[in-house]
Symmetry: C2
Subunit: 315 residues, 2 copies
């Protein structure tokens, strides 16, 4: 039996991918067993649970499972870094079932400094799926901690983390901006208004416009139920303003989203307000990245990147 079990093991969720010997994705499973909410029995129980009934294949995990406070801390690999270097830098641990779990290290940008764990595997998967982007591209990976990453000549050159998702949640749940008492509606106009406010904030930046959320509501021109969408637009718009201001995004270099459909749709809308046309996002890139790294590390036989699970455009 040939193949691979890939694990995308983050803070709040765990996904497992079973590949056959040719790298085709046979089955995907998801559990809410992130490293902060493990089941009884901890990591070993989570691993056994999510792979129940699967054959004893090599296992490769990426994400926060390799962080300080994870199953085993893997040192970061400093930039620049490509798939070959990451494949050589894998570590491993011995699970309770007596077999190894291999671990992908995170990446560290010494200029910043900045760090990522898990996103590097998605990036490699996206590059495998869209090789033409390897020459020069800035990838956007929206989320709790959004990453903007510059790839040139096949290697990751620099990246920046923007805490958009976490900031949104903290402001909405724990600041006066969330204290509207109103049910939330889906108001794309409010979202675009927020993104435009970030764009128009110029060098001052969106932090200086945060309170406008409340002032517009008091003015009666922003409905309380639309406050979350305005705030979301302001923070996502700020990602684009920031990335353009400091050169992480350049108008002469392609921009490519990687991530989940609904969230990426917001980024495409915000981009349009900056006169940037973003192509559809690449979804499920982590699975491709895990397979690629497994081949680089010799865990599975090398071969072409299968196109079987070539991702449906997500948004």
């Amino acid at each position: 039996m040939h193949g691979l079990i890939g694990l995308d093991w983050g803070t709040s969720s765990l996904r497992a991918f079973r590949f056959d010997g040719a790298g085709a994705l046979v089955e995907t499973r998801a559990r809410p067993w992130g490293i902060r909410q493990l089941p009884d029995g901890g990591y070993d129980a989570a691993l056994a649970g999510i792979t129940t009934g699967w054959p004893a294949l090599p296992r490769l995990a990426c994400g926060m499972v390799g962080s300080r406070g994870g199953w085993r801390e893997m040192p970061y690999l400093d930039l620049p870094a490509d798939a070959v270097q990451l494949g050589r830098a894998l570590g491993h641990l011995r699970a309770a079932d007596g077999r190894d779990v291999h671990l992908v290290p995170g990446l560290r940008d010494p200029h910043g400094p900045d760090v990522m764990r898990g996103e590097e595997t998605q990036l490699l998967g996206a590059l495998a799926l869209r090789p033409a982007l390897a020459d020069a591209c800035t990838f956007i990976q929206p989320g709790t901690h959004s990453k903007w990453t510059v790839v040139r000549d096949g290697a990751v050159r620099s990246f920046r983390t923007l805490m958009t998702g976490e900031l949104f949640a903290a402001l909405r749940q724990h600041s006066i901006l969330g204290a509207t008492g109103a049910a939330t509606v889906d108001d794309i106009e409010a979202f675009e208004r927020g993104a435009a406010a970030a764009r128009d904030s110029g060098a001052a930046g969106a932090l200086s416009r945060l309170f406008s959320t409340r002032a517009l509501m008091l003015d009666g021109v922003l409905a309380p139920a639309s406050v979350p969408d305005y705030l979301s637009g302001l923070l996502i718009g700020e990602e684009f303003r920031t990335a353009l201001a400091d050169g992480l995004a350049r108008r002469d270099t392609p921009l490519q989203l990687i991530g989940e459909a609904a969230l990426c749709a917001r980024y495409r809308r915000a981009a349009a307000l900056f006169d940037i046309e973003l192509p559809p996002a690449i979804a499920d890139a982590a699975a491709r990245g895990l397979w690629l790294l497994a081949t680089q590390a010799g865990l599975v036989p090398p071969g072409p990147i299968p196109s079987v699970s070539e991702t449906t455009p997500a948004c």
Copy 2:
């Protein structure tokens, strides 16, 4: 019996000032009875409690007591606005004891939009204490919602709210940046490092450097116990970067702090990193502002601003 009872009634605290007929401050009292934490019996009970034993003098209140959700909503006065206009715009309500409480309206900057409640009274008090600043000055009022306000020819011309204090609390208590598990030390070097990071962020702004807090900690160059001070420096530094970027602060115009000593000391340190020398802060400006507005509105006889309680430099 002549005199005035001034009330500085905010979200989380209530302060009462008793003035004699000449405007000298006779007694100050403070209670934790902000409009979000009123005692049993509500506003009337709080008012009766904090003025127990005081004579039946005219009463004038500023702050969130006049907000939507306060005792009575007072409309905002649009900029530009000065002491005469604010004095004419006072409202009032009838308390359960059968006598009036006069209320100071807040200010609204239609460009923004932006709003303040309570800070306008402190501003007027500061101008009364330092008349030379009335020609041209930008006032900084640090806090949960910091205000940067441009005064020219005796009138408030524009202002901007920066949610520094609230953002700091939300990030520290409800984000990965606060999850250090370490006791906090007082680390002024970390504070200055954060403020310098905001300064050096250029047009991208400090939001793009927020995650550096965590990356520096993982790098081992920022102690977990110093994370709050670094974050404080980053956010306060961002106030200066922002204000300089959008013209609210100008290097040819005096800058003046109004506020509490320890917090203002941080702003003076951050300012120094921007090559700005800030004079000591003006403290307790609300009491002076309330007296001034009471004279403007005819609640007490007009007269010179007494210098009895001329404020001790706070920091």
